[in-house]
């Protein structure tokens, strides 16, 4: 007969080696768990920092805007021939022409249609409207010459912010002699001052040669593949096709190789002259108040064209600068000529950079320098207003009914389960519903905050109902019993006692749902809130766009200046979300009750 196992451990059981090993194992496991936890949190924090860092870093470009201050002659005769000084007529006067004239007057040496157009591109298309507005508001300025701050165009602004790289001065030791013949100029340096630049250009040639050789290799691989196929193909037609492929590919390979060899030869030639084009870095020379762009360089001699005229002769002069832009002209939106003009303006102190308040007060625009988020922010406000007005009462009353009044039967359980499922439905489905039902059947205006608000309300509703039900459920039943005990009806119990106690929880859930709706894009795209809206909406039926959609649209625009504005708009959106969540936290802390 087996003996019954003893329930008490033997004497000294917890001091044995096995027990000690178990203890160590347990402690190690705890330590490991802690380490995993810390690692996970560190990873999350790092990801958040990286995200914020990248967004903030990109957004800084949108914080300032550039202005070009130029003297404007306000010719009363031309701008206001009638002499009535009527603001409406003044606004319609040819201020665009005046802006162009002002620029032309400042750069008298700019000739030719193409160059002039490049010159006009320095200032924003919106600058002349601002000038018109200023004159219309102050008609007494007519007949005077004023210094007006023209808003710089996005390319000018980007160049000034260093988006296309900056002009790097090269060290020069020699004395420069320039021999100007009309537009072209031949330059001589007493030292080999062009050599480093020449080296740089040659490095570029080698790089390009390497690229060509890689392309040639790919063609060569193709040739070998077709040769292999030709060896196994039985069909006459296939063989002919293969032969043709081999012929074209070998030809392409040989051309590429020849080009690469040519570039390499040019690169290693000890002091061969090198032609510069728009694919190589640009070399600019600044001397005697003028600018020269080099087109051909040797170590001590160079040929160039005059971009801005020199004021005097250059004869063994030490006062000159050699400047290099790393980015070739073809790879940037601002041309060498424009760089020269901007640099001249900068040297004369005509360029100012100020805080970009326009970004926070203007509406959308196709011109990045004119675009702002105010329109989208107001659109978001109207949309959220509609969303709140619909989702909050419906959600709260739905939750009260389900928690306090509905009989607990199969039907209410079905409803409850489906409300929970609704919270997991992709938001774009709500957009489809809105498009088909509200826009299609009920004729709600397209692109309007009303339509967006209804759709977002539907999307937010489950979140609010779930949060409200949880909050109502958390109200202790003793409160309900107490109220019922003194003869309160169920309605009175719900509204006098349960709802006030549940309100902080309901509001927290509502704010979180609203924050979710504020950041929602997909359903709004379905109901046409991606439209390009220049006006600030004045009501819930005006066409509008919202912040996240604005971010989405700007991120899609080709203009590079929108990159910074997109990041800045994201920051504004994040700011709103943080604000809303902060309010939710304060509400929760403030009205937290114990009973």
């Amino acid at each position: 007969m087996p003996t019954e196992p003893s329930l008490t451990p033997p004497q000294g059981f917890f001091e044995t080696d096995a027990a000690m090993a178990r203890l160590r194992r347990r402690k190690r496991a705890e330590w490991r768990l802690k380490a995993y936890g810390i690692a996970a949190i560190a990873l999350a924090a790092l990801a958040l920092l990286a995200l914020l860092g990248s967004v903030v870093g990109k957004a800084t470009g949108a914080l300032t805007e550039s202005y070009i201050t130029l003297p404007v002659v306000l010719d009363a005769q031309k701008l206001d021939p009638s002499g009535e000084r009527d603001p409406k007529t003044l606004l319609r006067a040819d201020f665009a022409g005046l802006t162009k004239k002002t620029l032309k007057a400042y750069f008298p040496y700019v000739k030719g249609r193409k160059d002039k157009r490049a010159l006009y591109d320095l200032v924003s298309g919106g600058a002349s409207f601002e000038l018109a507005r200023k004159v219309a508001q102050n008609p007494e300025l007519l007949g005077k010459t004023i210094d007006f701050r023209f808003l710089a165009s996005d390319t000018t602004d980007l160049y000034l912010k260093g988006a296309f790289g900056s002009l790097q001065p090269e060290e020069t030791r020699g004395l420069l002699t320039a021999d100007v013949k009309g537009k072209t100029v031949v330059l001589h340096s007493s030292a080999n001052d062009f050599l480093p630049a020449l080296e740089q250009v040659k490095q570029g040639l080698l790089k390009k040669a390497r690229l060509l050789r890689r392309q040639a290799e790919r063609q060569d691989n193709g040739v070998r593949e077709y040769e292999r196929r030709a060896a196994v193909d039985a069909n006459e037609e296939d063989r002919a096709g293969n032969a043709a492929q081999i012929a074209t590919r070998s030809k392409a390979r040989d051309t590429l190789l020849a080009q690469a060899r040519d570039l390499e030869e040019r690169a290693v030639a000890p002091d061969g002259a090198e032609e510069l084009d728009d694919k190589t870095p640009s070399l600019l020379i600044k001397a005697a108040n003028g600018w020269i762009k080099l087109v051909k360089v040797e170590s001590n001699r160079a040929e160039g064209i005059v971009l801005a005229p020199l004021t005097g002769r250059l004869e063994n002069s030490g006062a000159w600068q050699l400047l290099i832009t790393e980015l070739p002209e073809s790879a940037r939106k601002v041309s060498d000529r424009q760089i020269v003009w901007i640099e001249q303006l900068r040297d004369q102190g005509a360029i100012h950079s100020v805080f970009n308040s326009r970004f926070f007060t203007a509406s959308d625009s196709r011109e990045p320098e004119l675009a702002g988020i105010w329109g989208a922010a107001v659109g978001s406000f109207w949309t959220m207003l509609v969303t709140f007005a619909l989702a909050f009462p419906v959600g709260v009353f739905g939750a009260i009914y389900l928690e306090e009044f509905a009989p607990k039967n199969r039907f209410t359980r079905f409803v409850e389960v489906n409300i929970n499922n609704l919270a997991a439905v992709p938001s774009i489905v709500f957009g489809l519903l809105g498009l088909a039902l509200f826009l299609g059947v009920f004729g709600v205006p397209r692109s309007a905050p009303l339509a967006g608000g209804i759709v977002l309300a539907l999307m937010t509703l489950p979140t609010i109902i779930i949060a409200a039900r949880a909050a109502i459920c958390a109200v202790p039943p003793s409160i309900r019993e107490a109220a019922l005990g003194v003869g309160a009806s169920r309605l009175q119990t719900s509204f006098h006692h349960v709802l006030p106690l549940a309100m902080p929880g309901i509001l927290t859930g509502t704010i979180i749902g609203m924050a979710q709706a504020l950041g929602e894009t997909a359903p709004l795209i379905m109901i046409g809130m991606v439209a390009f809206i220049v006006d600030v909406p004045h009501g819930i039926t005006d066409s509008a766009t919202v912040l996240p959609v604005q971010v989405f649209r700007w991120s899609d625009f080709p203009e590079r200046a929108f990159e910074a504005r997109t990041a800045a708009a994201i920051l504004v959106l994040l700011g709103f979300l943080v604000l809303m969540n902060g309010v939710a936290i304060i509400l929760r802390k403030r009205f937290e009750r114990r009973w």
Binding site: P476, I479, R480, E481, G485, L501
Partner: protein, 265 residues
């Protein structure tokens, strides 16, 4: 004939306030209360005693129809209050609860001010015509609940900030503010310390002059101290009902005797 009438008049001073006849309570399929017949006298403290789960609280909650709030609960039989069936279709449970106040096991003041706690019942039933009347009702109720002196300076303070015993007396004040005819108490002192319990018991004895009090208690000493009549419940049935002194000194049923002497329960 006259003599008989006189006897009836005499009996009326101890008249029956609530008369339960053949009461059955079901929780779903569970038959929780079986065949309970009991007459509760006016201006008397009646104690319900019995082991846990014997149905005494369930029966108490039948008296103000609090069981109505539980979906699966079903009550049959007749409960007459002043001769009227409180389960009749024309009786509104909300109005009934204003006439039959209730105090719960755990003090459950509303998270509002002391004043609002007491004033809530009179407010929703429209018992006070103006603010002065309401203040009078609140003061009278708090005085009757022996809490007035402790809280008269801080009526606007939160009711949840009081001590446990004070909270329970606040709940009693709240229950009597609607001038009920019957006061139901479900283990009112079980969550309190002995001093607070003594205060509550003293209070119950005073309340007897105005109301018919029904108290459920686990403590047999408490039942013996505060009640004039005692009902012993066991497994959903009313085993014995009679004068408190008689139940505790000379129980008729062996089960009652076993419980009182501590053999079951």
């Amino acid at each position: 004939m006259n003599e008989i009438r006189d006897v009836t008049a005499l009996k009326d001073t101890k008249k029956v306030k609530i008369s339960a006849q053949n009461v059955q309570v079901y929780y779903g399929d569970n038959h929780a209360i079986r065949d309970v017949n009991v007459d509760i006298d006016d201006k008397t403290v009646t104690a319900f005693i019995g082991p846990s789960g014997c149905g005494k609280s369930t029966f108490l909650r039948c008296l103000n129809r609090m069981n109505d709030t539980i979906d699966i609960c079903r009550v049959t039989g007749t409960i007459l209050m002043d001769g009227r069936d409180i389960y009749a279709p024309d009786v509104d449970p909300v109005l009934l609860r204003a006439r039959v106040g209730m105090v719960f096991q755990k003090p459950n003041p509303f998270p509002k001010s002391i004043f609002d706690n007491v004033a809530y019942g009179p407010r929703i039933h429209g018992l006070a015509a103006n603010k002065a009347e309401l203040e009078h009702i609140v003061e009278k109720s708090l005085k009757r609940a022996a809490l007035w002196d402790e809280v008269k300076d801080r009526l606007s303070a939160s009711g949840t900030g009081l001590s446990g015993g004070q909270q329970q007396r606040l709940c009693i004040a709240r229950a009597i503010a609607t001038s009920p005819e019957v006061l139901l108490m479900d283990e009112p002192a079980s969550a309190l310390d002995p001093i607070a319990t003594a205060q509550i018991e003293e209070l119950i004895d005073e309340l007897r002059s105005k109301f018919s009090v029904v108290i459920v208690t686990h403590s047999m000493q408490q039942a013996a101290r505060v009640s004039q009549k005692t009902a012993f419940f066991h497994l959903g049935s009313l085993v014995e009902y009679g004068e408190t002194g008689q139940i505790f000194t000379n129980p008729q049923d062996p089960r009652t005797e076993s419980y009182i002497t501590g053999r079951i329960g």
